[in-house]
């Protein structure tokens, strides 16, 4: 009987799942088909690889943002874009100062976990609004990147490191493999583990979660650490892709990440969200960057189009979900 009930919820869950990401997926497919019809060069291997690298960058940030936003309590992370710049510059600096590639990577990823933990402590223990503390990090990290480099790009990185951003394995770019790995792990954690359940509970109804013994503070701190870690990972990928640590990269990436997350069906009030949805959202934004060039749209209009698409995608999805729930 219990088993049956469990099965039922699983089936119900599956049903819901197939619906939840349907809207953005249709939008993504339509965009891809529309672009291909107007310019078949969209489907060249070169273009798809370039697109894949871009999706990896926005997708990883969107996964982190998804975890933070689901955890609720008004949690949001505004720091990823600047953390991408700072960690990229730091990893480049370490490697040009004689630290081996692996140790540099390890230190940087540890450092970005630390940034996430720092956010978590401020938000849960000191009750500082997430918006404010991560805005602080946005400013500090951007500033630190400038302090370290004085604006100079950090160049002459080891060839083995550049592979992370530029090499392909089985014709698929390395960043895409990283994205696939992270997506599988994150999706598994969000949907199949106790942590995922607690995360959704914390965001859905914090008081009820606390009463039923969920350690909301720990759950939320871990969510911030996931976001920090992934921002550091993207920082490494971007530095490897550009062959240099550049203090100016990543501006507005946090906003693209938040938009990707919301397009993918994560609710800004917390409690529900989807990793796959976030990836689809990130794919839509990356595809736009790419398609607008292929479609010969004047560069003056690029941002206008991207903004409109974000608004339309999110609105359609909200309307559709309301329609479905009725």
């Amino acid at each position: 009987m219990v088993v049956l009930e469990g099965e039922k919820t699983l089936i119900a869950g599956k049903k819901q799942r197939s619906f939840k990401e349907l809207g953005p997926l249709v939008a993504l497919m339509s965009l891809a088909i529309f672009t291909t019809v107007l310019n078949p060069r969209f489907l060249t291997a070169f273009n798809l690889q370039a697109l894949g690298r871009q999706i990896a960058i926005f997708g990883l940030l969107a996964i982190g943002e998804t975890f933070v936003i689901i955890s609720g309590g008004g949690a949001i992370d505004l720091s990823p874009g600047s953390v991408v710049a700072l960690t990229g510059v730091m990893v480049a600096w370490l490697m040009t100062h004689g630290v081996s590639v692996w140790i540099s990577l390890f230190l940087i990823l540890l450092f970005s976990l630390g940034i996430g933990a720092w956010h978590g402590v401020f938000v849960t223990k000191l009750k500082v609004p997430a918006f404010i503390i991560t805005l602080g990090t946005l400013t500090i990290a951007r500033g630190m990147a400038a302090v370290i480099t004085r604006g100079w790009p950090v160049i002459n990185l080891p060839g083995s490191f550049l592979k992370i951003g530029q090499a392909d394995f089985l014709k698929i770019p390395v960043p895409v493999w990283i994205l696939i790995g992270v997506t599988l792990i994150a999706d598994f954690f969000l949907r199949k583990t106790v942590y995922g359940k607690h995360l959704r509970a914390s965001g859905g109804n914090e008081i009820a979660a606390r009463f039923s013994g969920v350690n909301v503070d720990a759950v939320r701190t871990i969510a911030f650490m996931v976001s920090g870690f992934l921002a550091g990972l993207v920082g490494v990928i971007v530095a490897a892709r550009l062959s240099q640590g550049q203090p100016g990269v990543g501006s507005m990436y946090e906003l693209y990440a938040i938009a990707s997350t919301v397009i993918g069906g994560t609710s800004l009030t917390g409690g529900e969200g989807s990793v796959l949805g976030a990836i689809i959202g990130a794919s839509i934004i990356s595809l736009l960057w790419n398609a607008l060039v292929l479609l010969n749209v004047s560069t003056y209009w690029h941002n206008v189009v991207i903004g409109i698409v974000i608004v339309v995608a999110v609105t359609l999805d909200i309307v559709r979900r309301r329609f479905v729930s009725k």
Partner: protein, 323 residues
Amino acid sequence: MRKLLAVLLTVVLAVVSLAMTIGVIGKSVHPYWSQVEQGVKAAGKALGVDTRFFVPQKEDINAQLQMLESFIAQRFDGIAIAPSDPTAVMPTIKKALEAGIPVITLDTDSPESGRYVYIGTDNYQAGYSAGLIMRELLNGRGKIVIGTGSLTAMNSLQRIQGFKDAIAGTEIQILDTLNDEEDGARAVSLAESALNAHPDLDAFFGVYAYNGPSQALVVKNAGKAGKIKIVCFDTTTDILQYVKEGVIQATMGQRPYMMGYLSVVTLYLMSKTGVQNTLAMLPKIEVEGITDYVIDTGVDIVTPQNLSDYLETMEKLGIPIKF
């Protein structure tokens, strides 16, 4: 004791106010502005002048205005500024001039503001030179894409205009102008997209310092180094590396060190000998019947052939470039 303190204080104050202070306000944290700063510091040292150099994190006209006002409040003996917005800065420059502080612009001009002199690259001319080089590289025919970080900033618009005027009348076609909003990663994405959208592309023109290396990275990774020509701006270490490898065929090296150095020298002279006496020594140009003073610091066109000479020249200036 008290008397002694009072005397000491007076002496300290006298010394502080005796030292001439000159303020320079740049645009953003960038290697280019580090070189300006080096020039400013070197001139300050040579002339025994106290110099203050300030740049906002990113281009930020409000931060510039606040710093400008604080320089005015501190009664500096001269101020040089590279306004991120030529019109927004006008009232504050007027305020400084009314307070008797000479103001000049460097790198970016604000001609209507009443500033005495502009010291910097004539961006239209520099763009024109880039266009002439492109003509030569392509033998007057081919398809090109332009990458820039702004479609509103004057320096970007003037460079592109100069470039277009230089290739006018040839069979060189500009397929697209792409704006990445000063994000190097986006510049790479756009260059990749452009290379894919136009398989018959012959060349890139990079307007801002990071545009050239972004295009070079994409061209090199696509295995088209040398086949697709690149002409770009500035001489950051990564650009010079690509010039050395022959991925970038020519870059327009500005002279930021000179801009910083000459700004301090000019303001020093204005403070010492008077504004009019200093202007009398400077090159004049006539614009619509009004006399204006401009020092064009010019460009160094760096190519794979003359790279080593260029590095030697910079070394002599005390700016060793290592890569």
